[in-house]
């Protein structure tokens, strides 16, 4: 049978079905399609993109939950020829601005800091030099599959040896320092280097956001900072043309140009699993309308809990494995605030609000906001990260008008009293009040506001716990333990079922590493 004929016969059969069309799913789909696979991407929402998808939250005003990208790997950009599909990020690196009540804002550019003492500015040079060295040590491994200890495979063990060698190669002194600071709480690291409260809070932000960590929490924050510094842009945030959605669109184009098919508004209710004498095998998916679609590989871009507990079902899993998935910590602590503004708000002491602005007056302020959240309460004084994407891309709002997009920490997924409209309004007001301390006339500009709690994010985006990273970015849920062993190499205990979402190594954010690595494992 000729290849073409065979293809005709098996027309209704796909090589791979990808559940969800978040950016990792699209990266995975594009890689698979480019290698000649017949790929179908099923997305429950009306548009692809997941947390990166653009939504019109008010007529004429667009925003996506993820509002910047900071470490999307250049390798994926060039492999998938994203630039030729419209992805453009070069011109828009955002300064990070630590807002100060008395207008002494701290501004972080790629290689410098302003608004601090000269000592702090010098210390920042040392700090960023060191952190970049460490980030460089880890960089190769974000796009690598982590080895499984029990495999005893020499090739896999070489990855460990490689990590060891890389760490050793930075020199004895730096290696010692690396082994020390990798588990350090953000607060201790910052205190060792800096005096300025706002600088400390701003720098620790990248270690904390999205996680259940506060500045005093050991084991995790520094790794998160290094993770975010991993990309070629060294962790500097940027807004691509068209917002984050610009990246999503280019990924979609890249995938579909290579032959992948993306079906929106198609919700998968079940992964179909076949039972043979040799064990189980994933063989297709069932949609909520009852339709069944078959494929050799089923690739889930949804979070691990949803994948295994809802789509697969525990009866196909071992009890210990089920328990490890169940105990994954995936309660989100970040809420999203979107404001439609009828003009550009003035921020005290800022020429133009074109940076990534952090409202966190001190590390204590972050810590105390977290203290409320850990008991299931909303913080009295939330801390947040603000971006006005429309300043960089006028298409996101009507002429002369603007979108304010903010990540508000720490808003608990499990509110003690349960989430109600009143509870949501209350924390939304608090967030706006907080912004108003820095931009006093902000309220006059607000045409419309939208506040998405982690619980709303879970509902709207089908992400367990509303967690950005699908599952907490913590030492015990990283590397070959992400999401848990036996599923950390993208394959799962069920042959034919793969994971490719942020719940896998290397993790969340608009990063794409998981999709990239999963595609390689599927093609293996």
């Amino acid at each position: 049978m000729s290849k073409a004929l065979k293809r005709c016969v098996e027309l209704d059969r796909y090589d791979s079905i990808i559940i969800g069309a978040g950016h990792n799913a699209l990266v995975c789909a594009a890689y698979l399609a480019r290698s000649g696979q017949r790929v179908l991407v099923l997305e429950a929402a009306d548009t692809p993109g997941g947390l990166g998808a653009s939504r019109e939250f008010h007529p004429g005003f667009h925003a996506s939950v993820a509002h910047t990208i900071s470490h999307f790997p250049q390798q994926i950009v060039s492999d998938l020829k994203l630039a030729s599909h419209g992805f453009e990020t070069s011109s828009s690196a955002l300064p990070t601005v630590g807002l100060s009540l008395d207008k002494k804002h701290v501004v972080l550019q790629q290689n410098s800091v302003s608004g601090t003492s000269a000592d702090d500015a010098d210390a920042y040079q040392n700090y960023s030099r060191l952190m970049r060295r460490f980030a460089a040590v880890l960089r190769p491994f974000w796009l690598r599959t982590m080895p499984r200890i029990g495999n005893n495979s020499l090739a896999e063990m070489m990855t460990f040896a490689h990590i060891g060698l890389n760490i050793r190669r930075i020199g004895k002194k730096d290696m010692q320092e690396f082994l020390r600071i990798v588990s350090l709480p953000a607060r201790d690291l910052m205190d060792e280097y800096f005096d300025n409260d706002i600088l400390k809070a701003t720098l620790s932000w990248d270690g904390l956001i999205g996680s259940k960590l506060a500045p005093r929490s050991p084991n995790g924050a520094v790794l998160a900072i290094l993770y975010r510094m991993a990309g070629e842009s060294r962790g500097v945030h940027a807004i691509p043309a068209g917002g984050v959605n610009g990246l999503i669109e280019s990924l979609c184009t890249s995938a579909t140009t290579s032959g992948a098919e993306i079906r929106n508004a198609t919700t998968v209710s079940r992964v179909l699993i076949d039972r043979t004498d040799n064990g189980l095998k994933a063989m297709g998916v069932q949609l909520i309308n009852g339709e069944k679609i078959q494929a050799d590989n089923i690739v889930s871009a949804t979070d691990p809990q949803r994948t295994f507990l809802d789509l697969v079902g525990v009866e196909h899993l071992d009890i210990g494995f089920t328990n490890r998935i169940r105990r994954l910590r995936c309660d989100g602590y970040v809420a999203k605030l979107h404001l439609a503004l009828n003009g550009l708000p003035d921020f005290n002491g800022l020429e133009r609000p074109d940076g990534r602005m952090i409202i966190a007056p001190s590390m204590d302020a972050i810590e105390f906001a977290f203290d409320d959240a850990k008991y299931g309460e909303c913080p009295n004084q939330p801390v947040m990260e603000i971006v006005l994407p429309s300043v960089h891309d006028a298409s996101l709002a009507p002429d002369g008008q603007h979108v304010l997009s903010a990540h508000v920490m720490y808003v608990p997924y499990r509110l003690k009293e349960g989430w109600t409209d009143a509870a949501r309004d209350l924390i939304c007001d608090r967030a706006i009040d907080t912004i108003a301390q820095y931009a006093p006339r902000i309220r006059e500009h607000i045409i419309h506001r939208e506040f998405l709690t982690p619980s709303d994010l879970e509902q709207n985006y089908r992400v367990t716990g509303g967690h950005w990273h699908h599952t907490e970015f913590a030492m015990d849920q990283l590397l070959m333990m992400r999401p848990t062993y036996e599923a950390a190499q993208y394959g799962t205990p069920i042959p034919g079922l793969f994971l490719c979402g942020a719940g896998c190594h290397p993790g969340g954010d608009i990063m794409g590493g998981a999709g990239h690595n999963a595609a390689r494992e599927i093609l293996r």
Binding site: S183, D188, P218, N219, M475
Partner: protein, 539 residues
């Protein structure tokens, strides 16, 4: 005589142990102690006539039995008597007893939660597995992972082999355990908050972390990995108070010809040609020796008794950044009679074990939140024991001594420095809390000694009053303790060593730090090793 082979600064139990092993090797050693009593934080003091307080540490679980045997501490007067059980007092009047007897313990847990009673078996199995691994490292010098010396590589391979022997699954579980918070780790086992709180409480003792802070489950292990006669997690009392341990080690030291000088505070370590050559005492006397060993914590050693100019670049800063946070208080109370606790039939186990005023995880965490804000909680975590109930030597007959350990108590108050009034208010908070569970308790009080981190630092010399001589977080454990590159007891100045809890394996009355340091010193002085291997367990 003012010329020695070794000077040990500080007569804490690790300093004494270190000196004892050096003396045993035939070295001429002197231990210099600033106070007029020895023992450091492992001390018994008669602060009220007829009452012997273990005024700092109060319970013994980590003492390495290999050292106990080797130094013949039994003959020097040491007897460790294990706890029989513990009573935990909940916020809502509930009580949880932990019994030494397995069947009784199971029944009691079952009363609270049949699920947790079963889960406890797995929990203890897992903890045992983790402690066995850690215990193998206690009497060993940590390898330097950056070094290619044969000895370091050999030690690293030894470790790798021990870890490998866990099997794949348990290696992952171990990493998980090692990096998680106590509260979240316990989540996988237990459903009952009272049980979780009781199990989590060792995770906060002495540390500036909360039960929800990642890393606290290791602290939990640090407190339960010790053993008394092979039963893991058992705690014991030293007959005669914790000073009996120091006295017994001092006895061994003196038997080997070592010398102890009290009222001999060290002003400065003398450094000549980048080598430590001796010390200058506060009274101006100069004593010289081939090696100088500091039993003080790392911060104090490098910032108080050393000249910054004598140190290689960066060490002073490392010492300043060393995390040694005061977080614990101690209230020692002399009682005219045995307090009666409500909800404890027959005062059962009050007289043969500890009392944990644990409440719930949230109560414990909220106490930590207070500490972060520079104050103490109105409802602190208190862990108590009435040693006089089964140690006839520490209080007059029929009268009692109660030790109350309090977590958390800040070393610096947000509202200004500690004063005598504030200290007494802190003590009153603790008394009020106990009174809630033991009406009439206040009327029994004969005398009370309140120790905040401030007092602990002033008297014992522990920086910020940190009972471990430095936080037990990964960045300060094992080959990172006290600083990366200096974990093998040799300090940046030649002939200067450290032997206190600032070194591996860290805090607790284990005597392991002192013994490990002695092994390294003897190696450098080319003397035969006198420190025994930990050959106790075929695990």
């Amino acid at each position: 005589m003012n010329n020695y082979d070794a000077i040990i600064i500080g007569a804490g139990h690790n300093g004494l142990t270190n000196a004892a092993y050096l003396a045993k090797a035939g070295l001429n050693v002197v231990v210099l102690e600033k106070n007029d009593y020895i023992g450091g934080a492992s001390v018994s003091r008669e602060l009220h006539e007829g009452w012997i307080y273990s005024s700092c540490s109060y319970v013994c679980s980590m003492m390495r039995q290999a050292l106990h045997r080797d130094l013949d501490l039994g003959r020097h007067g040491l007897l460790l008597v294990p706890y029989l059980g513990t009573v935990n007092f909940g916020d809502a009047g509930e009580r949880l007893f932990t019994y030494h007897d397995e069947e009784a313990a199971h029944l009691e847990l079952k009363r609270h939660s049949p699920h947790d009673a079963d889960a406890m078996h797995r929990f203890q199995t897992d903890l045992t597995r983790y402690s066995q691994l850690i215990r193998k490292t206690l009497l060993r010098t940590p390898p330097d992972p950056t070094s290619f010396r044969p000895r370091d590589i050999r030690e690293l391979l030894y470790l790798a082999k021990q870890v490998w022997a866990l099997g794949e699954k348990e290696i992952y579980e171990y990493v998980r355990f090692f990096t998680m918070s106590a509260a979240e780790y316990l989540e996988d086992y237990f459903e009952n908050d009272m049980i979780k709180a009781a199990m989590a409480s060792p995770g906060i003792i002495g540390t500036a972390l909360g039960v929800y802070s990642p890393g606290s489950s290791y602290i939990l292990l640090h407190h339960v990995m010790g053993d008394v006669d092979g039963s893991i997690g058992a705690w014991g009392l030293a007959r005669g108070g914790m000073g009996a341990i120091s006295d017994a080690i001092a006895g061994a030291l003196q038997e080997h010809g070592g010398e102890i000088r009290t009222n001999a505070g060290v002003q400065q370590v003398l450094v000549e040609n980048r080598k430590a050559v001796g010390v200058v005492l506060e009274n101006g006397d100069e004593i010289r020796a081939r090696v100088v060993v500091s039993n003080l914590d790392a911060k104090r050693t490098f910032t108080r008794i050393m000249d910054k100019n004598d140190l290689p670049e960066g060490i002073y800063e490392k010492a300043c950044n060393f995390k040694i946070r005061g977080s614990s208080g101690k209230v020692n109370i002399a009682l005219s009679g045995m307090p009666k606790f409500t909800g404890v039939p027959g005062n059962r186990y009050i007289d043969r074990g500890g009392q944990g005023f644990t409440g719930s995880l949230e109560t414990m965490e909220r106490a930590y939140d207070c500490w972060k804000r520079g104050r103490w909680s109105d409802d602190p975590f208190v862990e108590s024991v009435i040693p006089s109930a089964w140690d006839p030597t520490v209080a007059p007959p029929g009268q009692h001594w109660m030790s109350n350990f309090v977590q958390y108590c800040p070393s610096d108050l947000a509202e200004g420095p500690w004063t005598a009034e504030k200290r007494d208010l802190f003590g009153q908070t603790v008394v009020d809390k106990i009174e809630r569970y033991s009406p009439g308790f206040k009327d029994l009080i004969v005398h009370m000694e309140v120790r905040t981190p401030h007092e602990i630092e002033q008297e014992i010399g522990l920086t910020e009053g940190n009972i471990f001589q430095g936080e037990l977080t990964i960045d300060q454990l094992f080959f990172n303790r006290p600083f990366p590159g200096y974990a093998q007891y040799r300090m940046p100045v030649k002939n200067l060593y450290m032997c206190g809890s600032s070194t591996h394996p860290g805090g607790g009355v284990s005597a392991a730090c002192g013994a490990n340091a002695a092994r390294e010193i003897l190696m450098d002085l080319r003397r035969p090793n006198t420190v025994p291997d930990d050959d106790f367990y075929d695990e």
